[in-house]
């Protein structure tokens, strides 16, 4: 792409829309990731139909039944039962709801905060940029897990608190990337043209800037969703996230810990569920990034 080539898209604008869709379909990384994500998403939505048992119903006579592929396992409980005799498969299916709720709402919160700060700082520059940059630096120095643990301990562990804490902590990447992208766009001719035509700043930001950084936002969103899922799992594992008896995958690993020696499958299964979901999101994100900017791939 030469600087003198008049047909070259401006930096940040990327490839035309139809092109991106076509490349996404032909990108195996994206297709596999998105497909697995979609499956888990559907599993979460239709959990009541798919789960063979109530994820909360305990059975003291059926405790720690191993999964079907192990000795003593049976088709009654395909993934076995936990220490309280609750069906593990049903808890895994319902657990997808928690992870996805956290991922989606955290990214909406952090995306709003980060994009607002990033666009403002990139568009206005000067003092606004200095102040917002300082916010970003301060945020980066905060140890995320420790702050999140402390806040959950103060306010009590619930889905809303976890989402808000993570949302208010994970906006830095959105801000850094949108800031840089907006700085690039600010001096583009079409934005200068809009400005001289008398469009208001608000109109320029919503009609000229945001649509052109949407692709990058999508890539960061996948990355932050993965982060949010891993962090929720860690918080719940440490006992300061989603509270029992809610079926959160991280919490299930914590509950399985007492059976570590003889029944390690109790921690393997929920952990594997986290890995599959996070990996699917990361693959989709990688594919998305490559499809948006094929020239950056090497």
């Amino acid at each position: 792409m030469s600087a003198l080539d008049p047909t070259a898209p401006p930096p940040g604008e990327g490839a035309p829309k139809g092109d991106v869709l076509r490349r996404l379909r032909g990108n195996p990384t994206f297709v596999v990731g998105a497909f697995i994500f979609l499956l888990i998403f559907l599993m979460a939505i239709f959990a009541p139909l798919l789960a063979p048992y109530d994820p909360y119903s305990q059975s003291m006579s059926n405790r720690v039944v191993p999964p079907v592929w192990m000795e003593r396992g049976s088709w009654d409980h395909v993934l076995g039962t936990d220490g309280l005799g609750r069906d593990y498969l049903s808890r895994i299916i319902y657990g997808a709801r928690i992870s996805l709720l956290i991922a989606i709402f955290t990214v909406i919160t952090s995306g709003l905060i980060g994009t607002t700060l990033g666009v403002l700082s990139g568009y206005f520059g000067g003092k606004v940029d200095l102040v917002i940059n300082f916010f970003i630096m301060t945020r980066l120095t905060l140890p995320v897990v420790m702050v999140a643990l402390a806040v959950v301990a103060l306010f009590g562990g619930s889905l809303t608190v976890v989402i808000l804490v993570l949302g208010f902590l994970l906006w830095d990447r959105f801000a850094v990337v949108t800031r840089a992208a907006t700085q690039q766009l600010r001096n583009q001719e079409y934005i200068q043209a809009s400005r001289s035509l008398g469009f208001t700043t608000r109109q320029i930001i919503f009609r000229d800037v945001l649509p052109n950084i949407l692709d990058r936002l999508a890539v960061i969103a996948t990355f932050e969703m993965a982060q949010a899922i891993l962090l929720e799992a860690a918080l719940s594992f440490l006992g300061l996230g989603v509270q029992p008896p809610t079926p959160s995958w991280g919490l299930m690993v914590a509950e399985g810990r007492q059976f570590l020696l003889f029944d390690p499958w109790l921690i393997m299964i929920p952990g594997a569920a986290i890995v599959v979901l996070v990996m699917a999101i990361n693959l989709a994100g990688d594919g998305l990034r490559d499809a948006m900017a094929p020239e950056n791939r090497n």
Partner: protein
Amino acid sequence: MLLYMAQRIGLAVCVCLAVSLLAFLLLNASGDVAAAIAGEEATPEQLAAIRAELGLERPWLVRYAEWIGAALTGDFGNSLFFQRPVSELIFYRLPTTLTLASLAAVIMLSLAVPLGVLAALWPGSFVDRAALAIAVMGQAMPNFWFGLILLVVFSLMLGWAPASGSATLGHFVLPAIALGYYSTPPMMRLIRAGMIEALASDYVRTARAKGIGTGKVIFKHALRNAVIPVVSLLAVQFGNMLGGSVVIETVFGIQGLGYLAWESISRMDLPVVQAILLIVAVFYIALVLLSDMANAWLDPRIRIQ
């Protein structure tokens, strides 16, 4: 260079102050601290006693000024649980966490550097694919889960490593692997991308054309230029490892700063939590500052900007 250093140091001090204010406000101005400490069954008299003991009825700005003033002299108050100075507790725990994080950084680099360089030398090769697989796994595994698996396999089943505690260096190996592996993928990607760019550059082509051996070109010319962003990332990751140690130390029962943080948070021992948050943040700021300095020294273009 002096001006550049002065600017960076000034900024670092400002960020330190901002973080300290944030840590203080987070734990003091949010919610009812006395109620959080006393628990749900506390009587109003007990709450009043706690408020009086901690001086909670005074304005927060006064309390912050007192806290930060004392903190500058190394006095972080007393732990509510241990009834001992917080600085003393932290002083005993910090070396453990620093050992863990250093070992994790060594493991991370010894995985990321060779894999990143080899993957860059032969893109699309078996090594490149293996590196990619390691990266994809590393970014998807919760580190506490990976730690538990290491624990089950290498200490409970094979008996190669001790399961918990921090008595010998052997105790640190498994937790350091769990902590280090998580930071490997970004480092590996950075090294791979930097090397590919450097290897395609004019100065490497010139060096090759001059007849300099491949090994020398890779290590002296290409790697040296790819190393600048690596220093920055290393500083950031080391800082994150200190904060992230809270999860791994809990899994392996290592009595470090992270474990202390988790225990203190669970016990609402706020002076300790506040001090740990501040110290971890200050370490992070100092590391980033040092890496900025190192990079300005390595690459004169940075300090002129």
